[in-house]
Symmetry: C2
DNA sequence: AATGGTATGTTGGTATACCATATGGTCACA
DNA sequence: TGTGACCATATGGTATACCAACATACCATT
């Protein structure tokens, strides 16, 4: 709250380059399933679709390649990275480690401001769930975790989790949509929120692990069914 | 050993693109301290130094940017990412989680082949230590962990750890060099190796955590001393 | 039908041109 | 002397054109 005073009257220079836009668009297109796994990404086609030049497209692809969303085959060019259960399982395991740790730290540190933001995120999440709005639910879930990670000071872990999430984004969208079978989604989140608001670190970590184990189980069934 | 028969007379198509080479060179230059943290990376200068065109340099920079080694400021261009203790601490924490989990899994799964490779890696590590060869020590340590992660099937976690390691590479080189104060380096590794070879998962995880706590402590002192 | 050549498409690599912006300096003027 | 206008330079961002290598599909010859 003290250094904001410094940056307060700073001009919001936001020169969002074309490249950043292209990265976002492409990432979103992959995440949303617009491009399916294994699909080739032909540079010049993307130039037309995005309305930018090859330089921009190529640099965007390099970025997404380093993110793990795109893999470039030797002489065949870039394609959307494929996802099998062996890899997805690893992603869920790593998320479990990082998110449990973050929730634990958050529970130890949470003050009233954090708790308020967490409750707010939970409310929009529940609203999105009752409205059956997948996109809002997706973003609300992300926001919920963002509060946990950033208030715990785990910036880098949050970067990693976001990257992992975009890799399994299709699965994530599916699991979020499949939660009609159980009331798991918001119920799990509510338990996480409750544990953090009670400053109960072990309970928070446990609640996160339960939620992720559940999500991973749903993901496994989805993945093994479709192959 | 059986599929090598298939690929034996296969031409070793190594289409290492200029871009990959550029990425490796730049990464190595940053890791080795050739470019220090905060230093600007002027594109056209890099073109001359690397002997490639701007396209290649720019794409390489995008890759390293996504890796977290380079950050691009709004209208000032790319620069080598800086590292403070707040971020380094997070990196050590995350490494602790991932490496402990990997060592644990490795200890559960390790068969004779894994144990042999682990011992081999440990021997070259110890040799590099007695020879006081920092570069070999660095690579041997990396190799040691690579055996642990890959034999545990934690490919993705290994990717993440490697990325984190390149971020703190300067620190890592320093901590590896500073271990004359204690005999910690290879001694810790030996204990990790021993626990895994005894298939003692909890001991392996604990040994990893001890080693990392030690490394983090050295890193903290180094970082706070130089600022 | 098998073989060998050919055409096309895609990519990697490069060079170059143009524009916008930031920076720093110079110079005229108050 | 200080101030503001102005310009030159450096740099990043973007677009475009070109070429070579390679893979794939297709076609012709035997």
């Amino acid at each position: 709250m003290d250094q904001t005073h410094d940056t307060d009257l700073r001009i919001d220079h936001s020169p969002t380059t074309l490249r950043e836009l292209a990265v976002d668009r492409l990432r979103q297109a992959i995440i949303s399933g617009r491009f399916s796994g294994g699909e080739r990404l032909v540079e010049r086609t993307l130039c037309d679709q995005l309305g930018v030049s090859r330089s921009v497209v190529r640099e965007a692809i390099r970025y997404l390649e380093a993110e793990g969303l795109v893999e470039t085959l030797a002489r065949s060019g870039p394609m959307v990275a494929k996802l099998d259960w062996a890899r997805a399982r690893q992603v869920y395991d790593i998320r479990g480690l990082l998110e449990a740790e973050a929730a634990s730290a958050c529970a130890r540190l949470a003050d009233d401001g954090v708790k308020a933001r967490l409750h707010a995120a939970l409310r929009t999440l529940e609203a999105a769930f009752t409205d059956a709005d997948p996109s809002r639910l997706y973003h609300a879930t992300t926001k919920f975790y963002e509060v946990i990670f950033t208030s715990a000071g785990h910036d880098i872990a949050w970067e990693i989790v976001q990257r992992l999430n975009s890799r399994i984004s299709r699965l994530r969208a599916l699991t979020l949509a499949t939660t009609d079978r159980r009331v798991s989604g918001p119920a799990h989140m509510a338990r996480i929120c409750e544990a953090i608001c009670n400053n109960d670190a072990p309970a928070a970590a446990k609640a996160v692990r339960v939620h992720l184990a559940d999500a991973a189980e749903i993901a496994r069934m989805l993945l093994e069914k479709e192959t």
